[in-house]
Amino acid sequence: MKHFDYVQPKTMDEALASWEPGAAWLGGGTNLVDLMKLGVAQPQRVIDLTRIPDLGEITFQQDGSVRIGAMVSNAALARHAGFAQHFPMVAEALLSGASGQLRNMATVAGNLMQRTRCAYFQEETAACNRRNPGAGCDARDSDEELRALLGASPACVATNPSDFCVPLAALEAQVEVRGVNGTRQIPFAEFHLLPGDHPERETGLEEGELIVALHLSAEAAGFAGHARYLKVRDRTSFAFATTAAAAALRMEDGIIVAGRLALGAVAARPWRVAEAEALLVGQAPDEALFARVAEAAMAGAEAPAHLEWKIDLARRTAARALAMAAAGTPAQMPALPASPFGQQNGDLAHV
């Protein structure tokens, strides 16, 4: 690990004043410290945000919206009874990610800021435009499975690895950020950037800005009765998604009146397609409908010949997540959150 200067500000103003180009904000450290060991991240200064008051609060507002402080841990958010009740698919996504230890450490803001798990990004000797602009992309012609099917560019095929971000995109969260020039809100859809010619620009944060909180609206809580996250992965637990989907429906008298669908692990940000969601409105839940919606959500997907299966898998994942959402949010968090092998509707879905 390269040497760095460590500071632990006690106030937000002190933190913002500590910033210098080449510095890094530190939350739980589960991604940053790992990348520093690998030499992929080499900050000159590490600014530890964990001692700043008020960043660790979960606050329900009068209007039914919730404000989640940047330094709330993934575990604390997923286990917060009120939160899990209003935003069950967010809790399910959080509990399907990483391990018990990592969820205790990892923060809300750090989850949004986590870097791609593309093997070529993490390997210092490989060419990677995201890590080293202009170096080229060794992942493009590789057998890397964590590869974008949508929104990729000649410069970069990396995916966003987060589970948490997928339902946040579906529920149109707002990201509250702060810099020396004040506070502003970034809509979730604009927070993570597609690679284009500049894959090194990963988020909408300006130099020296940091995430203060996340906001979910009361309207988003209106999906709580029919909301699921489904994650297909190489192992039953503690693995990044191969494909994932967050599906949420509002139902009245057996008819879908509003639908949200975001796909994970298929692009550099959670993938949402308004035309696909529009197909749900006014319809009764039905397998053929969900297949059409999934098809529309994956429109334009591209993969090299050896990864064509992943397009099909992503469609099936989306259709099944919609069917699970239509069946209703389970009363208790499944033993295997977000798993295709978990208990669904009372029956075990696997042998």
Partner: protein
């Protein structure tokens, strides 16, 4: 540059000077505080061998910068037993053969103590396996580990009920 932190380490107050901000909690415990029970496996948060409790919650010591831990309460495998009495999780691991080579065992036990305190798994084997997925056992002692966590979880719940009565 020296950084000073105060820790409560296995119940004992300790003032520690850290000469380099790169030192992780894992290296601090093993190399500087003579507590080698916490193991280094992958050093990347993937294997769980370094699991300790930080303020009562299980965490990967390999990914924590020690400099950030001023005021923290740390419990390692060395701090679990009370005199000659093993912690119920330690005892259950022995009874159920929850290990073979033993290298992952301190991390498994600390993770199980954390999991039981979290209260989500109870004695449900599926929830225990899911909750313990951050701890790898390359000998494959998972069956015994699951039985041990179930047993310890039941005994600790029974004792709590007994104490409350």
């Amino acid at each position: 540059m020296s950084l000073f932190i105060s820790l409560t380490l296995n119940g004992e107050a300790r003032d520690v000077s850290i000469d380099d901000p790169r030192v992780t909690l894992l290296d601090l415990l093993r190399e500087r505080l003579a507590l080698p029970g916490t193991k280094k496996g992958c050093d990347r948060g993937q294997c769980g061998a370094c699991t300790v409790l930080v303020n009562g919650q299980r965490a990967n010591a390999c990914l924590m910068l020690a400099a950030g831990l001023d005021g923290a309460e740390i419990t390692t495998i060395e701090g679990l037993a009370r005199g000659g009495d093993l912690h119920p999780v330690q005892a259950a691991f022995i009874e159920h053969d929850g290990f073979q080579c033993g290298y992952c065992t301190p991390g498994q036990i600390m993770s199980a103590v954390g999991l039981i305190a979290e209260g989500d798994a109870g004695s449900d084997p599926e929830r225990i396996r899911e909750g313990m997925s951050g701890n790898i056992c390359r000998c494959g002692a998972y069956h015994g580990i699951t039985l041990a966590v179930q047993e310890a979880s039941r005994r600790m719940a029974a004792k709590e009920e007994g104490d409350a009565a």
